[in-house]
Symmetry: C2
Subunit: 313 residues, 2 copies
Amino acid sequence: MIRDYSQRLVVQEVAPRDGLQIEQKWVETDDKIALIDNLSACGFTRIEAGSFVSPKAIPALRDGDEVFHRIGRRPGVIYVALIPNVKGAERALAAHADELNLVMSASETHNRANMRMSCEQSLAGFGDIVRLVAGSGASLNATVATAFGCPFEGRIDEDRVASIVDTYREMGMQGITLADTTGMANPRQVARIVERVLGRIPAEALTLHFHNTRGLGLANVLAAYEAGARRFDASLGGLGGCPFAPGASGNICTEDLVAMCEELSIPTGIDLLKLIELSRTLPALVGHDVPGQVAKAGRNCDLHPVPAYVRTI
Amino acid sequence: MIRDYSQRLVVQEVAPRDGLQIEQKWVETDDKIALIDNLSACGFTRIEAGSFVSPKAIPALRDGDEVFHRIGRRPGVIYVALIPNVKGAERALAAHADELNLVMSASETHNRANMRMSCEQSLAGFGDIVRLVAGSGASLNATVATAFGCPFEGRIDEDRVASIVDTYREMGMQGITLADTTGMANPRQVARIVERVLGRIPAEALTLHFHNTRGLGLANVLAAYEAGARRFDASLGGLGGCPFAPGASGNICTEDLVAMCEELSIPTGIDLLKLIELSRTLPALVGHDVPGQVAKAGRNCDLHPVPAYVRTI
């Protein structure tokens, strides 16, 4: 089977938002800004840099306004903000976020548990946000959370996922993310859904957001890439977790993803060595070990010295 | 792209050998026997149950003779022993191992570092073992270690791997394992090498042994399966490590592999629920957390209770 691995894979780094949002230890604003600036120096073209959610709901990211104002805006980098509602969109626009990311779950139960509103209410809010953002110069991305499975409802009807994609496009969303929020996707399902959605929207408008909760994160990336997807969320060090799987991994790890791409000769434009160095600063920043593997094991090309006794055999 | 996932995938469980061999804490002989017997009750048809290596080299497995004598032999299960030399083969036959697994690295440097002999010396020893085992009723499997990369030499010439496979077959080895000893394989390389080797030997004679050192373990399994491979080593809980990657995972995790197969509808014959229960006993047995993800996260079908507040929205 001949497969083409020559097309660029765009990595959107989400550690500053999806990674830091669940950390117990407060990460200083200066440290957040340094992390984002160090990430943009690694070659990312898209960074989810923070969220404009209620500080009561996500205290770890309550300094989003200051972070967005003080980061060094590198030309060509799109700085994305996650927003839950119109108020968040107003804050994000005031902080000059380049793109706003809205989230609704394909699962009605999960949307009520996570966003504390029905899907109908979510979509009504999205309409208000579309009208607010129109003409601002910022672009809009909308995420279908639990697109590959819900921890409350189980399997998600693929017709429903396709229908939400259509609704998002009709509302004027430039980008759409399919998120495997709690790591329930498998490569076969991923290939099927990606092929279906790419019949509706162009590859440059689609992002895949995988978690490694059950060990399938990179296998799912590869299945999606082989089905035509080109843009993926990933988190430095695999930072970020899943409240339904204590001890298991959360987001797929950026440097593990980039290392895989290097081995497969898939271009990413990201400096893997710099990325690994940056990832190795994370345990000190967040106060615990992180799940990423390549920062521990090194790249394949980082060879080990030959033991002295070998020369005597 | 239509892919066929209907063919059975055979999992050879290696935790009692590859997993336990590097554990610092002594695991009691009774506990090893209980582990193996509990594994055979999960539906495995192949278990690498121990090794007959010098007790100085691998003290953790010095009770191999007693383990092999006292396990409950379940009909249909092949109990494999790893052996390094003729003396080990004599012990394995005396202990009624069903199959003997021999190891040589494709990398000359790694073979000298790991086996403390040259590849030429290894092959000469294999010849002696083949003569010893002939007529005993036991079968022979030979492993090509570092088949996908060497931590000292880097990339391994694929012609060399193919040539070792030919040599093994000419010597009379019934089975051959290609081992990614330190987790350097990638799915593209795996597909290429598996396709090449399956031009030389039938699928039922080939085992793939992957490590998850850089997060690609299950992606490599899937690439190998799609290329026609049908037999895979895996270790309960992901037990086992890599001395060159402290903190990174070692062997791929059995229950993560079986869970992937269930999601893909690939038959394995293994009881996943029993397997997860057994994996959850490992931290107490070895005295530390293990890398497997599914034992922490649960199966996809293990749904979570809906929070009470959801009903009020």
